[in-house]
């Protein structure tokens, strides 16, 4: 039927007017909230009541969701392939760690702002250089950036504690009122609240004209240059935002654990967050949720079964995802939904 419309374009009038209305509606509506978007947040709140003794683990999952979200912004939306996102996670983690250990600055919210500012500044400076490159070169350079920051921390053990890190950090009660309880209830809601705010921010950016140019850069960077887009500026901007969000994730990691070690800069951390995103599905916001939850729960379960071989289970799932669900689990859901719409039950 659509083919018939396409060929009858010689007669505009009604069909063209409705096509125009549909096209305008599509762009004007797509950023509106959908009902199903309440689901992950509802589940996160339900988990608070259902697993009261696993909330410390739950906070770690939410931290990784936020970290994966920041990677999604640059990898999924802008197509920047990186293996060094742990660099900015680590910078944020150490920002609040150093402030608490040396300056007695344990107020959590202002700590997050400080972490975002420092990680964003580092992201902007490194991005300015890194984003001249693409593909494999970029991959290796981002990897090297994280390693260099780790070694920088190792160079000043008096400040950073070296490989032992900064143990026993003390953070002030949230808003000066809510102290940290043994079951991690405050922490869980705190991390969930921060995740919610930053998720909303990322969502706005993704659906903005700026977000549209990121999709253009991902789809065809050559044509973006040809239509006059300042590609490198756009990339540095989004890279900086993602670095700041990674920094907040790192800061939450330090605050909820009350310690931090140079392990946060590890390749494992950069690679793990990418695996999470691939499992969940890149470039679709909620892929970060799905992927981080699956990865963390599976890791938790498998590492209890076998201390040494839990990587195998994750690896197997990754291989299956890449082979049979290239767009991640959310992509699989979308395909299933599209299939059902095309072939409704009689």
């Amino acid at each position: 039927m659509t083919d018939a419309l396409a060929t009858s374009s010689a007669a505009p009038d009604a069909s063209s007017a409705s096509a125009r209305a549909r096209a305008v509606a599509y762009l004007a509506e797509r950023h509106r909230l959908q009902i199903w978007e309440a689901l992950p947040w509802g589940l996160a709140l339900a988990a608070f009541w259902l697993f009261p003794d696993r909330l410390t683990f739950g906070s770690q999952v939410l931290v990784m969701v936020l970290f994966a979200l920041s990677l999604d912004l640059i990898l999924g939306f802008a197509g920047i392939v990186t293996l060094g996102q742990a660099a900015y996670f680590g910078v944020g983690a150490y920002t609040v760690g150093l402030l608490a250990a040396h300056l007695n600055w344990g107020e959590p919210i202002s700590g997050l702002f400080a972490a975002a500012a420092v990680a964003g500044a580092v992201g902007s400076a490194t991005g300015f250089v890194l984003l001249r490159y693409r593909g494999l070169t970029l991959l290796v350079l981002t990897l090297a950036t994280a390693i260099m920051l780790q070694e920088l921390g190792n160079l000043f053990p008096r400040l950073t504690g070296g490989y032992d890190g900064l143990p026993g950090l003390v953070f002030a009660p949230l808003f000066g009122v809510f102290d940290y309880d043994l079951y991690g209830r405050v922490n869980y809601l705190y991390v969930l609240g921060v995740l919610f705010v930053l998720f909303w921010l990322v969502r706005r950016i993704v659906y903005s004209p700026f977000g549209q140019t990121l999709a253009g850069i991902r789809e065809n960077v050559g044509r973006m240059h040809a239509i006059g887009s300042p590609v490198r500026l756009r990339l540095v901007v989004v890279y900086t935002i993602a670095a700041a969000i990674s920094g907040v994730a790192g800061a939450l990691f330090t605050q909820t654990n009350a310690y931090v070690t140079l392990g946060v800069f590890d390749f494992d951390n950069s690679a793990g967050v990418m695996v999470m995103l691939i499992l969940g599905g890149t470039g679709r916001l909620y892929g970060a949720f799905v992927g981080a939850v699956i990865y963390m729960v599976l890791q938790d379960y498998l590492s209890k079964e076998s201390q040494q071989y839990w990587h195998f289970g994750i690896g197997l799932l990754l291989v299956l995802t890449v082979l049979f669900a290239r767009r991640g689990l959310l992509g699989l859901f979308e395909d299933a939904g599209a299939f059902l719409r095309r072939n409704p039950k009689p």
Binding site: R20, A23, S208, A215, G216
Partner: protein, 253 residues
């Protein structure tokens, strides 16, 4: 009156290989200029030099009398040079409308906005749709570009360039790969373009060239062989030799 586009003594070499040699070319406002020549003559290279994809080894490119030789590609586009590509360069995973949206948003300097929804930029959407309607693509607005037949993708390729409202338009074999049953759609669009735009068209189909162009430049091995009106080109024995030579099996680097 200053020319819309002026190329002065342009040279480009890759090592010992000279792909552009002392090229001079002037497009006045509203020019309809064809660039022809055998494969490998350097036609697309010249387009890349004009648009800033490649930096010349020597020579200048002037847009409305202003030297733009040092400007990067995107800055030249913002000043009014647009091009289409010999092989489609589309945002294949995006819808036709989004393809146009990107171009219009760049022209209207709206694409840096982080904090408004893309759908709230009604002026951008309206202009993107108007461009699609002008090329009778509006019914395909919500289809992903990669699902369109090749001929219609070729129209999107042109629509993106036109959405930039260029003063100078470079068309690199706009009908290449399009079945002849559909190529008239593309030629109609090109024939109906704004008479103020200066157009340089690379084309192999001589019927198209002679129907469309007022001036023709023949490029051979990176250098201008001759520039003249269509009838003069037709009568030029050197041009015939170049083309017949190729058809007889001669290969030109």
């Amino acid at each position: 009156m200053t020319a819309a586009l002026e190329i002065q003594d342009l040279n480009k070499s890759f090592g010992a290989l000279a792909v552009a040699r002392d090229i001079n070319l002037t497009l006045p406002k509203g020019a309809r200029h064809a660039l022809i020549g055998p494969n490998g003559a350097g036609k697309t290279t010249l387009v890349n030099l004009i648009t800033g994809v490649l930096q010349p080894s020597a020579g200048r490119v002037l847009l409305d009398g202003q030297d733009i030789t040092a400007l990067p590609q995107a800055a030249r586009t913002r000043r009014g040079i647009a091009r289409t590509f010999q092989i489609n360069q589309l945002f294949r995973g995006l819808t036709v409308l989004e393809n146009l949206y990107l171009a219009v948003a760049e022209r209207m300097r709206a694409s840096g906005r982080l904090w408004v929804p893309a759908g709230a930029e009604r002026e951008v959407i309206d202009q993107a749709l108007a461009q699609l309607e002008a090329l009778r693509l509006a019914d395909d607005a919500l289809k992903p570009v990669r699902e369109l037949p090749y001929g219609r993708q070729r129209l999107v390729e042109i629509a993106i360039a036109l959405a930039l409202h260029p003063r100078v338009l470079l068309l690199d074999e706009p009908a290449a790969g399009v079945p002849s049953s559909e190529s008239h759609l593309i030629l109609d669009v090109i024939g109906a373009l704004d008479p103020d735009i200066a157009i340089l068209i690379i084309e192999h189909d001589m019927d198209v060239v002679f129907r469309f162009a007022h001036r023709i430049t023949v490029l051979v091995a990176g250098a201008v062989l001759t520039e003249a009106s269509p009838p003069e080109i037709l009568a030029d024995p050197r041009v015939r030799a170049v083309y017949l030579g190729e058809e007889a099996g001669g290969r030109h680097g």
